[in-house]
């Protein structure tokens, strides 16, 4: 099996629309969460919006008809909603960043993305007009609604004709996508891959639906905080380029990190009540998978866990229990962080954005802190990084990135700090 490394990165997120801007906000603890403006979301029939929460994390300054770096042709704009457009631009950054198409034959490269909600805006607009006034449904409604619309458009923009697919596993979509792309490149099924996630589903109907579930914070997401009171919804995209280590070295590419493991599991228990056993199984499988990269006793080498950390009382408690089940006596000494207090929870894109943060953390050997938390929940018995970034401890070269989705679908990536 091949060793697989990350050589290109791209993103469009609430805390930055380039990797450099994202990194700067990540370490400064600058949040993208802000009060939302209902006037930008058509559809409310009553002056009372009927939503108990006030904040989301939205991407700012995304202007594909004005900004040359984000420019999309009329064809792409016609056939894609906002989330897909984020994905196209993030992929464009990652591809350009590492010169992917100058070094690989586009016929074989894989594109594996995660997007769960699809173009919900197009769907809501069409259905609202149809059901309220018997309006005709626009011919672009189908193609803009497809969850794979961004995936297809990345292939169209790059000319890549290899295995191209999208994965929809709710909040774990982006992590499942990167994990599958990793397995494909490791096995030699694809010479390289563009992989990540995209999502932009912050429509009025979506906010109302989440409000009804009573899991959204009335204040702001604070993962693992003693006073956490829920998640905050977000949007965005992150993409990365995966290729074999030997090929990356041969062409002198910058290497951000190595992917060394992937674990998946299902709770097989309940759609909204997570079970620690399921998340622990995915973490264990990711650690066991590192054996294929020649890593022995990986648990003792984990120096960072980028947690799913939604900020709901239930998720964070169950995830903490899963970390204890997985690592036993080591668990209280492993630095844990969550970045959703900066980015919000972008569902299908979340795992990819968090994988990006994990890769950047390993490259810099500096672990971002969990912004907005002043007192960690003592019942969790975790070493949550707060107040300021922390150096990766000597002798620790592995990091996990967890995604635990509604429906009990769990995905965990294991990365290794790359050193020559």
């Amino acid at each position: 099996m091949k060793r697989v490394v990350v050589t290109g990165l791209g993103c469009v997120t609430p805390i930055g629309n380039t990797v450099d801007a994202f990194r700067e906000s990540l370490y400064a603890g600058r949040t993208g969460i802000a009060p939302f403006d209902l006037s930008t979301m058509p559809g409310a029939l009553s002056p009372d919006p009927g939503i108990r929460f006030k904040t989301t994390a939205k991407v700012r300054d995304f202007e594909p008809t004005k900004n040359p770096e984000q420019r999309l042709t009329s064809g792409f704009i016609l056939t894609s909603e906002l989330g897909a457009q984020f994905g196209i631009i993030a992929a464009r950054q990652a591809v350009a960043h590492c010169g992917l198409l100058q070094h690989y034959d586009a016929t074989g490269i894989a594109i594996v993305t995660g997007c769960s909600c699809g173009g919900r805006g197009a769907d809501e607009d069409a259905n609202r007009n149809l059901y309220l006034r018997n309006a005709r449904v626009p011919p672009t409604a189908i193609i803009r609604t497809m969850a794979s619309s961004g995936t297809s458009n990345i292939a169209i923009e790059t000319g890549i004709t290899g295995p191209v697919l999208n994965i929809a596993t709710a909040c774990a979509s982006g992590t499942h996508a990167i994990g599958l792309a990793f397995q494909m490149v490791r096995a030699g099924m694809a010479p390289a891959a563009i992989t990540g996630g995209y999502e932009a589903a912050l429509t009025y109907g979506f906010l109302r639906a989440w409000d009804s579930m009573r899991v959204v914070s009335p204040t702001s997401c604070r993962p693992f905080s003693a006073d956490r009171d829920g998640m905050t919804l977000g949007e965005g995209a992150a993409m990365m380029i995966l290729e074999p280590l030997d090929a990356a070295l041969a062409r002198g590419s910058r290497i951000y990190a190595e992917i060394v493991g992937f674990g998946m599991s299902a709770d097989a228990h309940h759609v909204t009540q997570p079970r620690a056993e399921g998340a622990a199984l995915a973490m264990r499988r990711a650690l066991e998978d590192t054996a294929h990269s020649g890593i022995a006793e990986p648990a003792g080498r984990v120096g960072y866990i980028n947690a799913h950390g939604t900020g709901t009382p239930t998720n964070d408690a169950v995830e903490a229990a899963a970390i204890h089940q997985t690592f036993g006596d080591l668990a209280p000494g492993i630095p844990v962080g969550g970045i959703k207090s900066l980015t919000g929870h972008s569902i299908g894109a979340a795992g990819a954005i968090e994988a990006l943060a994990t890769v950047l953390a390993l490259e810099a050997a500096s672990l971002p802190h969990t912004a907005g938390v002043t007192q960690v929940d003592p019942t969790l018995s975790l070493d949550v990084i707060i107040r300021e970034p922390r150096l990766l401890a000597a002798g620790k070269d592995l990091a996990l990135s967890n995604s635990l989705a509604f429906g009990g679908l769990n995905a965990v990536l294991a990365f290794r700090r790359y050193s020559i």
Binding site: S74, G75, I77, L78, R136, P138, P139, T140, I143
Partner: protein, 86 residues
């Protein structure tokens, strides 16, 4: 320029992100890079604006902006008075 002509030219220009001056009556869809999906979407918008229904066979025969303008004029002339939303 009459109202139908100017509105259709504006619509075509907007759909392809072009200045209005680049779209003329004799411009072909090929020149303007209007593909089959653009054509279906444009027809949908024209039908909405002018409250007409473009038959499939007529849609297939449209090759230029002028064809669309003349087609709309013909369909409007055949439609009952005050049918258009304009």
């Amino acid at each position: 320029m009459d109202d139908i002509q100017s509105r259709i030219i504006e619509l075509v220009a907007k759909s392809k992100n072009l200045p209005v001056s680049d779209v003329r009556m004799e411009s072909t869809f090929e020149e303007l890079q209007i593909d089959s999906l653009d054509k279906i979407n444009l027809s949908f918008e024209v039908e909405e604006i002018f409250s007409i229904e473009i038959p499939d066979d007529a849609l297939n025969s449209l090759k230029t902006v002028g064809d669309v303008v003349r087609g709309v004029e013909t369909l409007r002339a055949a439609a009952p008075p005050n049918a258009a939303k304009s």
